[in-house]
């Protein structure tokens, strides 16, 4: 609203909004608090002030070998996203700047592959992984996650590329730029923000993927999602330790996520809402 609002009204809305926001954030906040407690404190009843001990974090790292799943998560998320970008950038570039009559159909078809429920192909993928020795390997899972996110990557890049005015590329052509110059000096610098957003969002999606990572790993290639899922049974009874592991699993992506709110809307709605 472009008009002045009385201070009291604003304070009223502020209190309401903050109350709701804190309520929604509370489970995360309480997990962070609990992770800073000792195990005894953690089960001693509701308490928002922890003793700020890092003992649980140390336990998770030493007992559960936290760094292995963490490394796996990084490799899977970053690796699958980079792979997807390598395939998707040329495709999106071609569709945005040299569209044909069928471009729209191709894009819709790509989107439709995203609609296929994972569970529908669980059986063949599982068997393929089992028979080819890809089971519980980073390479197998990286390629799989790449395929899963490829449609979203193509789509996001396409919507970003399409916003680069065609006239600018024509201007470059008139200015004597070859295709190589055009890509190097004009297109790439203008496309980098879009590529970065796509990269960010897809790292988040790949990091949080929790169906295939659980199905296709045991220990070697298990990323944090699978690692944490294993806490559901007996070990989960250690509240502080569970909290510490949870915080370590979500912290990096939470921070990335805060920086990519805008792109999130666009990426997940395939450009339907901007």
């Amino acid at each position: 609203m472009a008009r002045a609002v009385s201070r009291n009204t604003k304070i009223g809305w502020t209190i309401a909004a903050w109350a709701v926001a804190l309520l929604i954030f509370f489970p995360i906040l309480y997990t962070i608090i609990t992770s800073l407690k000792s195990e005894q404190e953690a089960i001693a009843g509701f308490d928002l002030i922890p003793s700020f001990t890092l003992e649980s974090y140390q336990t998770v790292q030493s007992q559960n070998n936290y760094w292995r799943p963490f490394t796996n998560s990084v490799i899977l998320a970053v690796g699958s996203t980079l792979l997807a970008l390598i395939v998707a950038i040329p495709a999106a570039w071609a569709m945005a700047f040299s569209p044909t009559k069928r471009t729209k159909d191709i894009l819709m078809w790509m989107l439709s592959t995203k609609m296929m429920p994972a569970v529908a192909v669980l059986v063949p993928i599982y068997l393929i992984f089992l028979r080819t020795g890809l089971m519980d390997t980073r390479i197998g899972l990286t390629v799989l996650l790449m395929m899963i996110n490829l449609p979203i990557v193509v789509w996001m890049l396409y919507t970003y590329f399409r916003e680069i005015p065609g006239e600018i590329l024509e201007a470059a052509r008139m200015d004597g730029a070859t295709l190589r110059d055009e890509i190097l000096y004009v297109l790439t610098p203008m496309a980098i923000p879009g590529i970065a957003s796509t990269l960010l969002l897809n790292i988040i999606l790949a990091w949080n993927e929790a169906f295939w990572t659980i199905q296709l790993t045991t220990t070697n290639a298990a990323p944090l999602s699978a690692f944490i899922a294993s806490f559901s049974s007996p070990q989960g009874l250690f509240w502080a330790k569970l909290s510490a592991a949870s915080v370590m699993a979500i912290a990096p992506i939470l921070v990335l996520g805060w920086f990519s709110q805008k792109q999130l809307v666009r990426g997940l709605t395939f450009g339907a809402v901007k």
């Binding site: 502020t14 929604i24 489970p27 309480y30 296929m116 569970v119 395929m147 169906f211 999602s225 806490f231």
Partner: protein, 289 residues
């Protein structure tokens, strides 16, 4: 820029993505279809034989199948209802002139970035645990018997967790849509004497209709595949009380090693998802110019 040189190159650049996705889509799907007509159990692979429609019939006659379909629908609809209604309310609240809007947005959006197993574990242990959860603490504070959520209301508990995960998504998209509402239009309505509720009903809601549609359809696609939340909290139980279609198929494939049955279930899931997909494609396709 439709010159001949660029066209050929463009085809070359599109090809890898299209070919890869085509293989990714068609090969596993055909295999699933094939397996769905086999008697094939991993525990007894020597006994593999042609099954005809047996797997489908078996799935169809299994009472757990209908329960799973029912649970899937309740889960999807429940989460949609909560996220859309609360999403609209919260989006409108955040859109008001408030102090610290940026931080409020960050707090509200956060649950979306929590991976499903962690979200489920947090709620299971920190919040809803019958003896150590915050809700139990609250119950004791009020002098009521704490509820054992996952034993007594397994499906509702899962709906609650999933709704918490997806509420940020709905809110963020609806907020984006709300912020594109023309303020002059609102002011014109105010000049015309429309009270706040009719402005909401006749201006705000129709403006958000498209965003709401997108939220519903996209969430549905993800919600049909809910898995980790169930695995971590109830493991589909008690009995099959919180088993959805995805989880049922997972059980058939991974716990019963019934490849044929799981494949048949997978095909059913594809059909279900396609019905939803048709609607989504239309809504999204309209935006393509």
């Amino acid at each position: 820029m439709a010159t001949r040189q660029t066209q050929g190159l463009a085809r070359l650049m599109r090809a890898p993505a299209i070919i890869l996705l085509f293989i990714w889509m068609i090969v596993p799907l055909c295999m699933t279809l094939y397996y769905s007509f086999l008697n094939y159990n991993l525990l007894n692979p020597g006994m593999t034989s042609w099954a005809g429609w047996f797997n489908y019939q078996y799935f169809y006659s299994d009472p757990a199948f209908f329960e799973a379909i029912g649970n899937t629908l309740i889960l999807v609809l429940g989460v949609l209802f909560i996220t859309v209604v609360l999403g609209i309310a919260i989006a409108m609240l955040i859109d008001k002139p408030i102090f610290g809007q940026g931080i409020v947005r960050i707090l509200v959006i956060s649950p979306f970035f929590v991976m499903p197993p962690v979200a489920a574990l947090i709620w299971k242990n920190m919040i809803m645990h019958p003896s150590y959860g915050v809700l139990a603490d609250v119950a004791r504070f009020l002098g009521v018997q704490p509820v054992d959520w996952f034993a007594q209301y397994p499906l509702f508990s899962i709906i609650l967790i999933v709704a918490w995960q997806w509420l940020p998504f709905a809110t963020l998209i609806l907020l984006t849509s709300l912020q594109s509402l023309d303020t002059e239009q609102m002011e014109a309505a105010e000049m015309d004497g429309a009270p706040a509720y009719s402005r909401f009903l006749y201006l705000v809601l129709p403006h958000m209709a498209r965003a709401i549609t997108v939220v519903i359809l996209i969430q549905t696609i993800f919600l049909l595949g809910i898995y980790a939340e169930i695995l971590v909290t109830t493991n589909g139980g008690p009995g099959t009380a919180s088993t959805n279609l995805t989880f049922l198929i997972y059980r058939a494939a991974r716990l019963n090693f019934d490849i044929g049955g799981a494949a048949a279930g997978g095909i059913i899931a594809v059909i279900l998802a396609n019905i939803v997909a048709v609607f989504l494609m239309r809504a999204v396709g309209r935006n393509l110019d």
